[in-house]
Symmetry: C2
Subunit: 136 residues, 2 copies
DNA sequence: CGCTTGACTTAGACAGTGTCCATTGTAGGA
DNA sequence: TCCTACAATGGACACTGTCTAAGTCAAGCG
């Protein structure tokens, strides 16, 4: 089942009921949940799990590169278990729906050397904004 | 001096000391300030200006398209008076320094039709991340 | 000019999101 | 089974942003 859980076990994580539940929630069908949304779903499976533990666990997963933090609006960060296939996000400006997208081309190459100001650039983050078919 | 102020006057804004000061701060040398940083600088010029007014004024300037909201980290929004020349941002992952950059190429064109899922896309937001010369 | 009025400002309460810490619990190895 | 280092807990706290009720004032008008 949980590939995410497998990878975490392989990294020497102490396996607790709480971490199992957080991993299960992330691997479920709902993508791009906020920490509090993850917590709400986790509570359904393990009523005594605390908010702090969910925040800690998500933060650790991000540090390990197993989960990605996404912030498409200026509100809560969202947690994305799709960390092993590089992708970007397409966001509906009206309802907030989020889709994974895979742009063609070399995004990093679009930035000329004269525009790099001596930075060593390691990452490009792109958010496409528009109106989804439902909202149109 | 303040081009920003001129444009706002032209839009029928009631001209108050508070709005003048916020516009002056934005047009100063420091770019990409947070609302509370704008407030701190505004207080130096007009001690009684309130936090709420700074938030309100910045929000109105954004609505009018005279200022852009930027969120490069997952913390406070930053306010960018450079609203009339489209650009993107380059951010130092260590110290948070922000530079304006002007990518070549058609950013929107990088997203194939098959990756648009029926959305009407109106905007692309790009953040380049790396390490600045100072931090390297 | 001085009045009038509706737009603007203010202080502070409140809400949403995230962090911290002292205490308690427990996974997993000896 | 026991130990102990690591993890979980709950609640206080910090940061960012929003809201409201009451007071203030810019600007148009006589
Ligand atoms: Mn994603
Ligand atoms: Mn800028
Ligand atoms: Zn929509
Ligand atoms: Zn730096």
């Amino acid at each position: 089942m949980s590939d995410l859980l497998e990878r975490l076990r392989g990294r020497g994580w102490r396996m607790t009921a709480q971490r199992r539940v957080v991993a299960e929630v992330l691997d479920g069908d709902h993508m791009h949940l906020t920490a509090d949304e993850v917590h709400a779903r986790a509570v359904d499976k393990l009523p005594e799990i605390s908010r702090a533990t969910v925040y800690n666990t998500l933060g650790e997963m991000v540090s390990l590169g197993e989960v990605i933090e996404v912030s498409t609006d200026h509100r809560a960060k969202r947690y994305d278990p799709n960390a092993h296939r590089p992708h970007q996000h397409l966001v509906c400006a009206r309802c907030g729906a989020i889709r994974d997208v895979h742009p063609a081309g070399n995004l990093l190459g679009d930035l000329p050397d004269t525009e790099r100001f001596g930075f060593t650039i390691s990452d490009v983050e792109v958010t496409y904004r528009g109106i989804c078919p439902n909202c149109a």
